[in-house]
């Protein structure tokens, strides 16, 4: 039972990378289909639609970041892996914001990106505006990332 805390913490790290990564992979894939559709008709729009396609990919990076920080804090990447069950659960809880918000915001951002790609297809001059719509969704992924980071860095100082 002594290592149960470590297991919980590791589950948290894995969940952050897993869910946010799944969300981004699906969303970037869907946006890629839309981008390919536009490029099939007008190859000159490649760079613009590529940027829009990549926007929902950031959640996967945030998830990876949280997974790395958590693993480095709990000793997976070196150092001691001993911790209490309560601390392990705290790490798990700290990873959840980016895991779930990452997953859902990636889907939402993917849909917004697809719509924005449609807008660029119609009027390439609207690229700047088109980028803002999916970028707005990023706010919530960043908020979740912040909460996860703050919580993870606060856990070592807790006496639990």
């Amino acid at each position: 039972m002594a290592n149960l805390g470590f297991v919980y913490a590791l589950v948290g790290a894995v969940a952050a990378a897993l869910f946010a990564g799944i969300g981004s992979a699906i969303a970037v894939g869907r946006a890629g289909q839309a981008a390919a559709g536009v490029v099939a008709e007008d190859a000159s729009q490649f760079s613009k639609v590529l940027i829009l396609q990549l926007l929902p990919g950031t959640q996967g990076i945030y998830g990876l970041l949280i997974a790395f920080i958590t693993m480095s804090q709990i000793g997976v990447l070196g150092g001691s892996a001993d911790m209490s069950t309560a601390k392990g659960l705290a790490y798990l809880a700290a990873c959840l914001p980016i895991a779930f918000v990452g997953l859902i915001s990636a889907f939402a951002q993917g849909n917004a990106s697809i719509a924005a790609i449609g807008l660029v297809a119609k009027d390439p001059g609207q690229f700047g505006k088109a980028m803002i719509f999916p970028a707005m969704v990023e706010t919530y992924a960043i908020l979740a990332l912040l909460v996860s980071i703050l919580a993870i860095f606060a856990i070592p100082g807790l006496t639990i």
């Binding site: 869907r30 839309a34 559709g37 008709e41 849909n111 790609i117």
Partner: protein, 319 residues
């Protein structure tokens, strides 16, 4: 949410830019003759330079279906759009078979070879026809051969076509295909009621001609159609098709135009829908209605019609 049509809709967004808008239609209307209109269309990328009007429309229809064929895994999802041609060909084949006629150019593009169709009818082997066509074809042939009633024959096949369109559309995915089915049948019912009221058709004939649809009360419509045109108009004023009352009073052409404009208005929101089959269905309909307007303009110019007269017949554009 399905990934199925994301690529297709993105391509269609680009293709929508090539659709003709109201300004271009005005340019065509202002052109002095058919030749000048064709020149403008060639410059716009329509058809191939040197093609006649009919060749141009055939080429454009081929291009539309070739594009759709690239975009969807199975083009059968849009079979509902082909049903009108299929039933038209059936009607033509019945008449050719019963009258032993050979009239070139009466068949439209369809899935069945006209000669095969005629052979099936000649041999009375109706089982070789698609299931929904079997019974109406047998009945229509019977009516034409025994009663020599061409109008009743048309009525049977037209009614079967409408039923088939509505059923196929209802079973289709998305919102636009079922909407197309409903509006096609409702528009046809309105036209039948108006025509019947003008020509004093019997209630039995009207009942037989009207096809089931959910936005019109057929019992009421057949009653008012038997009572007269004003009764038809006053009934329609209480339905969602109230706007057509004025057009009915104007002319049949105005009513036809109103029906197409209604469809265009109902599908126009698909210009902003990035997902699903609906934007593709809307694009096909937009192309079809665009062709109809172009045919009006070219025919009008060929026959020296006045600009205002042609303008009164062209449909609203999708973009």
């Amino acid at each position: 949410m399905s990934n199925q049509y994301i690529f297709a809709v993105a391509r269609i967004r680009k293709k929508e830019l090539e659709l003709l808008n109201g300004d271009f239609m005005e340019q065509l209307l202002a052109a002095p003759g058919e030749e000048e209109c064709l020149q403008l269309l060639y410059e716009k990328g329509y058809g191939n330079v040197g093609q006649t009007a009919n060749e141009l429309f055939e080429e454009e229809e081929r291009r539309t279906w070739s594009l759709i064929g690239e975009l969807v895994p199975d083009v059968k999802v849009f079979d509902v759009f082909r049903l009108q041609n299929e039933y038209h060909n059936l009607k033509a084949a019945i008449k050719e078979t019963c009258t032993a006629g050979t009239h070139p150019g009466i068949y439209l593009n369809g899935s069945a070879d006209p000669q095969d169709l005629e052979k099936i009818l000649l041999e009375r082997d109706f089982r070789k026809l698609p299931e929904p066509m079997q019974e109406p074809a047998a009945r229509a042939m019977e009516v034409l051969l025994t009663l020599r009633d061409g109008q009743m024959c048309d009525c049977i096949i037209d009614r079967a076509a409408l039923d088939s369109i509505r059923e196929t559309a209802k079973a289709s995915e998305g919102e636009i295909l079922p909407l197309y089915g409903e509006l096609t049948v409702a528009a046809a019912d309105i036209k039948i009621a108006v025509r019947s009221a003008k020509t004093g058709k019997s209630p039995e004939f009207i009942k037989q001609a009207l096809a089931e649809c959910s936005t019109l009360d057929l019992t009421r419509l057949s009653q008012v159609a038997g009572a007269g045109l004003e009764e038809v108009i006053s009934y329609l004023k209480n339905t969602e098709y109230a706007d057509c009352a004025e057009e009915i009073r104007k002319s049949t052409a105005a009513l036809e135009r109103w029906c197409d404009n209604l469809l265009i208005r109902r599908i126009r929101p698909q210009l902003h829908n990035p997902f699903g089959i609906d934007p593709l269905a809307a694009y096909i309909l937009a192309r079809r209605i665009e062709s109809k307007s172009l045919r009006m303009i070219l025919t009008g110019k060929r026959n020296g019609f006045d600009e205002e007269e042609i303008r009164g017949r062209i449909r609203e554009t999708y973009v």
